[in-house]
């Protein structure tokens, strides 16, 4: 393992210098000649019917170039989820109703932002206010206001990919009001297993909506070229091909007539994958005015109108044997997806998919509901369901351990899945370091010494400390549009190479890790790799930087493309060197040599020249591709959880030590530990960086972060009032990398950077319980909740 030249090394980021010097161009930095500025008028009401919009005065304002409303785009529908079962329910501008505060009503393009802003104030809208509903459990009741009553028609996104046969089978479960998605999965016999259990426990947990807080606000620049009929867009996004597909459907244009250009992305965390109305409007306004149009959201709009993490209610009943072996689990999840479906049906599926690989639960029933309310829209956010469900399950397991007088660590150890296990859906765990992660994290947090559970409260002073632990898992890619990633490696005369990849570096370091894979496989230096990425015109398809697929899926595509280039290079070299057997040849540092006679060498340049001049003119271009999950034909069923999910699961164990101030209720995070099974670390600095980012976000969401909504109104749409972690909150951090070598991964690599946002929530909640002996069932764990639980207020 250790004889790699680049893999596993702490190679500095290849895009680091551009970013350190301010030269990296983000979407917000794009400025085109003649560019107009767009602004969006939004609904001040959570639920209302649109009666009339008068844009006359706005149209007449000098400097205004276009004003559009729902009338202009009546037919347009799109959505993150667009299947025969769940047809697209979003429109770029409201047509009949508005469904949350911030819903888009009209858009303006003008010569300056100030004029556009002024124009918005001149648009007159008449609304008929409708009764709203904000809590999902109320929205589910009979008689609750119905948020979506429109009829959907047309072909869904997935039908274009051959799922029309499912259409007949589709019927919405109408027993529940405002239902936007439903998942039901079961195996074994839970009733029987509960009867056989020595101990059962039922609990209810709740998590609030949280914000991504990408530092770069959402923005789009669109420029339509009417002569070529081509639309050029610059988007702050995580998946250029998915965005292009969404846009092509929404604008009813062939995908090839849209070009997404590369920009650096100032953070995404799941929140820049949906198609947003501002993106559609920028494109539409550019087509209408014939000028480039830029729309940049302000921070308040980002908080209110892009996406949030789903607030979720989890009810769990678990049955165990005396020794803590889990026999049965019955889980019910209710996710509030806000005024539109967002990723509702996906998150309720993933609460299952991202969690069931952790423990072996032989008898299991899982039911998820995603529900419309008049809150802001919820979509994917780092971990997408994993933080919520892992918090609930491991909080309850800690309670069970306490009830039975057992050590949580032992219970976890008894129940975790192992390498070689086959999951109920057929996914195989060909690498699984859960046990090693668990033991590593426990040791690093000093579990035996610090865990207070079994000691009397010797520390009864004002400040009390405790430790907790939790586990998590995550996919490494999945079958989602465009279902595969491909890569092209083009060699240059001087022996260096350009990598063409559709993957986008959103900060996770993919340009660097992919360069390492290329350099290692081909036998060149890191400085010899040039990256052309994130451009739909120049680059082959890619799944995008979500579902944690870049390392494994794109990584494999790059490795194959590099191997393909290398094979061609060696074939040319073999002819020159008079060698028949290619396996005798080795390539390193842009030089080819005979393994058994290292004196005999040839430079890459010579081999390339020979390939062009003496062979068939081939300048050597390597191709590679890899399916989202080679064993699966298509995506799994969200409703039934049937089908294969992912080729490899990343795992982590996370532990926390906290200090609780019993006077103020404030919880201080002293230390966090993450032991991550990422298969094999392509770049240790990057892996550790991903772990830090995850734990910081998870800790924020455990202790302070909450999108605070009252009657659909957002009360804290700014960084300070939202309270995400700042430097002063940084705890001591220990990370361990458990290298299990995933057989299907490039150089053994799999997921890192998403799963371990999830375990930290349960670890902190369990540590708080350990410190002060009370359980907090809802996140964030605010001082008020702690004091209440302690009976102090």
């Amino acid at each position: 393992m250790t004889d790699y030249n680049f893999i596993g090394k702490r190679i500095p980021r290849v895009d680091g210098l551009a970013k350190a010097t301010g030269k990296a161009t983000y979407t917000v930095d794009v400025k085109l000649p003649g560019m107009l500025y767009g602004k969006i008028l939004r609904s001040p009401y959570p639920h209302a019917r649109l009666l009339k919009i008068d844009t006359t005065a706005a149209q007449q304002l000098p400097g205004v170039r276009a004003v559009i409303t729902g009338e202009d785009v009546r037919q347009v529908r799109y959505a993150f989820v667009d299947t025969p079962r769940y047809p697209a329910d979003e429109q770029p501008l409201a047509v009949d109703k508005v469904r949350y505060i911030g819903d888009e009503v009209a858009a303006v393009a003008a010569e300056s932002e100030a004029i556009a802003e002024k124009a918005l104030s001149l648009i007159k809208v008449e609304y008929e206010i409708l009764p709203p509903v904000f809590h999902p459990e109320e929205a589910m009741q009979e008689g609750a206001p119905v948020i979506h009553d429109e009829q959907f028609e047309g072909t869904s996104f997935w039908e274009e990919w051959g799922v029309t046969e499912q259409k007949k089978a589709v019927k919405q479960n109408s027993a529940v009001n405002n239902l936007s998605g439903h998942t039901l999965i079961s195996f074994g016999d839970i009733e029987q297993a509960f009867r056989e259990s020595d101990y059962c426990r039922e609990d209810r947990f709740e998590l609030k909506a949280t914000a991504h807080c990408q530092m770069e606000p959402h923005a789009a620049v669109a420029s339509y070229d009417p002569l070529a009929g081509k639309l050029h867009v610059w988007l702050s996004t995580m998946g250029i091909f998915l965005k292009r597909y969404f846009l092509s459907r929404a604008l009813n244009m062939p995908a090839s007539k849209i070009r997404v250009h590369h920009t650096f992305v100032g953070g995404a965390f799941g929140g820049k994958i949906d198609l947003f109305p501002y993106e559609f409007c920028a494109a539409y306004l550019s087509m209408k005015t014939g000028r480039p149009v830029k729309i940049e959201l302000d921070r308040e709009e980002v908080f209110m109108t892009t996406r949030q993490r789903h607030p979720i209610i989890v009810k769990i009943k678990t049955g165990v044997k005396k020794d803590g072996t889990i026999l049965a689990q019955d889980i019910k999840v209710i996710a509030d997806n806000g005024g539109y479906r967002g990723s509702g049906p996906v998150v309720i599926f993933l609460c299952h998919g991202f969690s069931f690989p952790v423990y072996n639960v032989p008898n299991y029933r899982y039911e998820g509901f995603s529900i419309y309310t008049n809150n802001g829209i919820r979509g994917p956010q780092r971990g997408h369901g994993a933080p919520q469900i892992r918090f609930a399950i491991d909080s309850q397991l800690d309670l069970i351990a306490r009830d039975l007088g057992l050590d949580l660590l032992e219970i976890m150890r008894k129940n975790v899945r192992k390498k070689g296990d086959v999951l109920p859906n057929g996914d195989q765990l060909n690498s699984c370091g859960l046990t090693e992660c668990l033991l590593g994290a426990a040791e690093a947090i000093n579990w035996q010494k610090k865990r207070k559970q079994f000691r009397t409260m010797e520390n009864a002073g004002r400040y009390r400390r405790g430790v907790g632990i939790s586990l998590c898992s995550m996919f490494s890619g999945a079958m989602y549009y465009p279902f595969a990633s491909a890569a092209v490696v083009k060699l240059h005369d001087d022996g260096s190479a350009t990598l063409f990849t559709g993957a986008q570096d959103i900060g996770q370091g993919s340009y660097t890790t992919l360069s390492q894979i290329l350099a290692e496989e081909l036998g060149i230096g890191i400085e010899d790799v040039h990256v052309v990425a994130g451009d739909t015109e120049l680059c082959p398809i890619d799944l995008g930087s979500f579902l944690s697929c870049t390392a494994l899926v794109t990584g494999n595509a790059v490795k194959k493309a590099a191997a393909d280039a290398k094979r061609q290079l060696l074939e040319s070299a073999a002819e020159l060197l008079g060698v028949e057997d290619l396996t005798r040849l080795k390539a390193q540092q842009k030089t080819i040599f005979l393994e058994d006679n290292p004196e005999k060498t040839l430079s890459f340049s010579q081999a390339i020249q020979a390939s062009v001049l003496k062979r068939n003119g081939n300048p050597i271009i390597g191709h590679g591709s890899y399916k989202g999950y080679p064993r699966a034909e298509r995506y799994p069923s969200l409703a039934k959880g049937k089908g294969l999910f992912t080729g490899a699961y990343g795992f982590a164990a996370q532990a926390a030590e906290v200090e609780v101030d019993t006077f103020t209720g404030k919880v201080k995070l002293l230390k966090v530990v993450t032991f991550h099974d990422c298969g094999y670390p392509l770049n240790k600095t990057i892996v550790e960086g991903q772990i830090h980012g995850c734990t910081s976000m998870g800790a924020g969401q455990a202790l302070s972060e909450e999108v605070y909504l009252e009657k659909g109104q957002l009360f804290n749409p700014s960084f300070l009032s939202y309270r995400l972690p700042i430097s002063l909150d940084t705890p001591e951090s220990i990370e361990g990398i458990v290298a299990t070598i995933e057989p299907s991964g490039p150089f053994g690599a799999k997921e890192v950077g998403e799963g371990c946002v999830a375990g930290i929530l349960g670890a902190i909640a369990n540590a708080v319980h350990d410190a002060v002996g009370v359980r907090i069932y809802s996140l964030p764990i605010t001082p008020e909740k702690v004091l209440r639980a302690l009976g102090r207020i």
Binding site: D15, K19, G689
Partner: protein, 152 residues
């Protein structure tokens, strides 16, 4: 209302006619094309727009450009000299302190001012110095390490 102002930006004198309502951030980004200075919130809460005014860090989104009239402004573009990176830029890149990079210009400038005033900061002082600069990607760990690596 328009006004003429003079700024010394990264050592170069710039005379500009600007609207008196423009922030320093707008002037840097829009009028001078120095887009290395970022707008994360425009509310004075994130530090992405940090520049050095007479060597001291300020949030340029919360400062009217007319207030900087006659003063020296250092932006991230002014740090690397003659193709040579500043040691802080080098350290940030080597230690993994840069992920998406959107907070990096501000972070690097704040670090410069910190180390000029206090070449030997403790970890607590480092955390204090960057407390006004939000980074969502790194959890601050590698940023703090990068700054510590510059302390002799």
């Amino acid at each position: 209302m328009k006004k003429k102002i003079r700024l010394i930006v990264n050592g170069e004198e710039k005379v500009l006619t600007i609207d008196v309502q423009q922030t320093l951030l707008e002037v840097l980004r829009e009028d001078l094309g120095l887009t290395g200075t970022k707008k994360g919130c425009n509310q004075g809460e994130c530090g992405a727009c940090t520049v050095l005014l007479e060597g001291k860090p300020v949030s340029s989104c919360s400062l009217l450009a007319v207030k900087a009239d006659g003063k020296a402004v250092t932006t991230i573009e002014g740090l690397a000299k003659g193709g040579q990176l500043h040691p802080i830029q080098q350290a940030f890149n080597e230690k993994g302190a840069i992920q998406c990079g959107f907070c990096s210009p501000g972070m690097i400038l704040v670090t410069k001012s910190l180390l000029e005033q206090n070449p030997n900061p403790t970890t607590a002082e480092i955390k204090e110095a960057i407390a006004g600069n939000i980074c969502r990607c790194t959890g601050y760990v590698q940023i703090i390490e990068a700054i510590r690596s510059l302390v002799p």
